[in-house]
Symmetry: C2
Subunit: 143 residues, 2 copies
Amino acid sequence: MEFEIHPRLLADCYCLGRLGACHLLLHRNASLPWFILVPETDATDLLDLEPKVREAVLDACALVSAYIKTEFRVSKVNFAAIGNLVPQLHLHLVGRIPGDPCWPAPVWGNLDPGPEYSPAQVTAIRAALRTQAGLIPTPDDTP
Amino acid sequence: MEFEIHPRLLADCYCLGRLGACHLLLHRNASLPWFILVPETDATDLLDLEPKVREAVLDACALVSAYIKTEFRVSKVNFAAIGNLVPQLHLHLVGRIPGDPCWPAPVWGNLDPGPEYSPAQVTAIRAALRTQAGLIPTPDDTP
């Protein structure tokens, strides 16, 4: 059966493309750079993955983290696998900087609704991620 | 210079011992099984670590996660590297189960104060982690 991204994630995010065995999503709330990686696995906890699979996932996360720090000029990337509401394994990478819209609280449950990205911004983010992280377009990408 | 655990973490947690190149702490709030690993590094973000160092840290995390699931009979382990308040790199591993004291919210900022562990409980947790995860006692452990 084909892998399907959880509908809650699809509703909250743009699908940017594939990064290794992960789908890379961008949260629609543009007040912070908030990316989500969804590995193609049935496991629900990051620390239950086989070490080799986990490493490949973390390599993809490290590429996205480096991209976030460079492009959005943030000093920190908050990284988390929570999944209490959406059981499908998904990894949050959130660029943070003192003074951002919910600093120093974590974003989950604390970030007010914000503006969406413009189509041109999403296109530019995809283009940069293709160059800097090897993002691959897929037919499921948000137009 | 000797590595020192951040005073905020020392105030909030018991020091249980060493696990590889990490210090393993147990949050004093016993309403949920909340462990914190502090790798001996100057890096502040997990995803900035060299892949080999990162892997060793994640191996230690996976051992603790498996221990939490077995011993505390929880179905999930929330995993996060946040560090907006405490800049020293530290990794949260929190055993979660539907109906626990702050389900489904993440614990950070949402968990009410709870009971502490008894000395006998801390001793039993240390003993189990020695057997199941290779925890090593250190002179800095909380008595």
